[in-house]
Amino acid sequence: MRWGVTAGADYRPAPTLAWRWKRLVALARRNPAGAVSLGMILFIALVAILAPWLAPHDPSALGVGPRLSKPSLTYPFGTDNLGRDLLSRIIAGTRTALIVSSASVSLGVLVGTALGLVSGWFRGLVDDALQRLIDSLMAIPPLVLAMALVAVLGPGLWKLLLALAIFLLPAAARTVRGAVLSAREEVYVEAARAIGAPTLRILLRHILPNVTAPIIIVVTVHIGAVIISEAALSFVGLGIQPPMVSWGQMLSLARPFMESAPWLVAFPTGAIALTVLAFNFLGDALRDIWDPRLRGST
């Protein structure tokens, strides 16, 4: 695992599988919260992948059970006002949550990293221009920007993904730029430049691996933010639209029933909270592990 900020310092001879495993176990022992949240995330991912097989009912099928029935053995999470099985809908929502967050985060990281690499490597005027652009993007609250974009473009999955990608873009670009600025002064990069290696090659082979760690931290934190933001967008009617199911949408449509059928609010809220918590704790754990300044502290 070559996660160190400076590849040279952390370099070890070709790590074996056994070494990797031992390292992982050691990390987990040192950081049980991180391990638990990683396990949680793997579980969520598994649910998302196996959703069609796990869900006891079709999540959109009407009148599967009586409407607004309490959690019971037949309907572990109860049913909603259209008689749909809530457990199946939560499971379907897991899939949506992961698809939406990973797609928008990937998009944001891709564009953000590219901007950051260019900005940090070329510096000068390009850097200045890009930085001002990112400054202005960072000056608008991401939620407001996403709402404005979706409101303007109209509700729809792709438009939503685009709007949510904006959440991450400035943070990714900033992080990458910082890492590039420091990595660019490293001896091995200087050397590569001296022998006339093409810029793209240097960027991809020598600089990019150095920014992976900070990017992953940014990503873990932002996945949570994206899920929360989708819920906020759903609240104003701009989130995921039926027949696609999302936690935020379920929560938003459950508002009138929160008193007579509190489980309609509790389960989506729980699903959102658990997922966001898991990603946040994982992010914190990774930060603890990778940030050398914190290493070795008591």
């Binding site: 409407r67 259209l82 509700p155 009138p256 007579s260």
Partner: protein
Amino acid sequence: MARFVRPAGFVWVPLLFLLVAGACRPAQAPTPTPTPPPTPTAPAQPAPTPIAPTPTPVLTLPGLGAPTPTPAPQATPVGADIVPYAQVYSANPPKRFTEAEVRRGGTFVTDFSGDPPHFDPDLTTSYFMLGAVGPVYSRLLRPVWGAMANPYAPEIVPDLAERWEASSDGLTYTFSLRKDVTWQETPYYDFPEVEGKPFTCDDARFSLERDAKNATAFLVASVETITCLDAYTLRVTLKRRDPGFLPNLASSYAYIIPKALVEKVGDLRQVALGTGPFLLKEYKPKTSITYERNPKYFVTGVPYLDTYRIVIIPEESTQVAAFRAGQIHYTGTNLPSVVRDILRTHPKTVVHRFHIPAASFHIAFRLDKAPWNNADVRRAISMAINREEMNRLVYGGEGQTYNIGVPWPSAFDTLPPPEAFGPYYKYNPQGAKDLLAKAGFGAGLTADYVYYAYGDDRIQQSEMIQQYLAQIGVKISVQRLDYGVWTQQYLGQQWKDLALGFTVPAGGMALGYDWTYELMKCKASKNTWFICDPELDALLEKTVTETDPLKLKQVYRQIWEREVNQVYRAYIAQEVRYSLWHPWVRNTQGWTGYRFDQFTYGGSHVATVWLDDPAKYR
């Protein structure tokens, strides 16, 4: 008096018993049991009921007990907490009261979910604007509101016009105006050229002429000339007979505004000064609108209140909480479960349940384009919709299952039974498939479907429609639009295949004419659907010329039958509206139906509301 949905006698006799038993039942402990699934027969089967108001409560809302019966008249009542055309559920039996019992003063607070864009009654037909200016202005005529008002056959009474007469050909109307009316004098404005000055025919003429140039032009569409014979006599001549003319003048779009003020300030966007019962005291955007009693209101004795306030609360769950906390006296909903939640903690709340005489929401087709110009395709779509299930799932079985855009009272004496809607409103997926095959679409059909989420129920209905249509091989791609694009596409007639349409009546009232002539006639101003049917046009012309009420009813019956046979619009199950009141708010009947019967949009009926001592109701 409720005349909509009525179980057979063997049901309501035990209900009356329940009512007696339930009237003094103590508040139930909170038991959050889910609603039991209604039995298949639960969607109420309407049965013939006479139109004449007879005090017979006929329907229960599960969990609410039976509605409270209307008490017999007593000596010289000035009003009553009775809403004969809605069901009333209340632990405090509605009472008639005399002038002496009225408790004057106090602040009455209701909610709005949004702000009026401005206060000019002619520049938009926005619901919030109409509600906000209503207490300030008067009209020439108004419909009767109060205990005996019939929303289906509104009786028109004087407001600013003392009396009026129509020529025998129905083309000339002469109005004699009140001579004792002055424009409001308020400490909140400084317009000496208007305040306290008498209202004259000039103002009335100016108002109608201004209507013609603005958003309210439909009110005076048939008008040819408007003249003042003297300071207090207005004459209007029409180009053609227009059964909608007087009802339009009585609707809450037709406010009379002060000519001198408009001439001074240009438009009335930022000022409201009329002849109505309340003075606009303060408007705090996104917060509240406060009105104060107009001591010089031309109707003596009212308003009873000192202050009326509308608090603007966008979120519905906050509205409910504010109602519970006593911050607002009124709130509305279309979800029976919310009503039940409130009754559990506030069992003395007065509930008015109000049916809509004509339906609004329907699947709209592009009738000018294939395949939607084929009646069999439309019939198939309509037959694929399980309206009973939709009512049961979306509205807990307490909404309206069958209803179309022609107000039933104009065509029927009693609420029409499901059979009156013909074979194409019956859920019949196999029949739908057969019809599609007959039309040449046996292999299926794909279509676009657009909607605007007027409420959560529209989102869920759209989802259901998608599933129902998939069952007969019609795949629709559902797209939710935001309001701007929606109005552009729907009212601008630019949607592609299907839309979750709504019907906007041409005038202000639930009259047959308002819902049909300008809406269904070929190329008429409000015909959004491209309906163009010579047979229908001939019938619609008859509604203008026919003066015999019985024959008129037969014409509307034919229009009804044409509509359900051709399925120009496939109406779906829709909500019933509930108004909720704290019990000490008295004489509120003018409000009920407030969202759908647009003649109560305005709100000058606030004048007769009064607040009793809350201690009496605890």
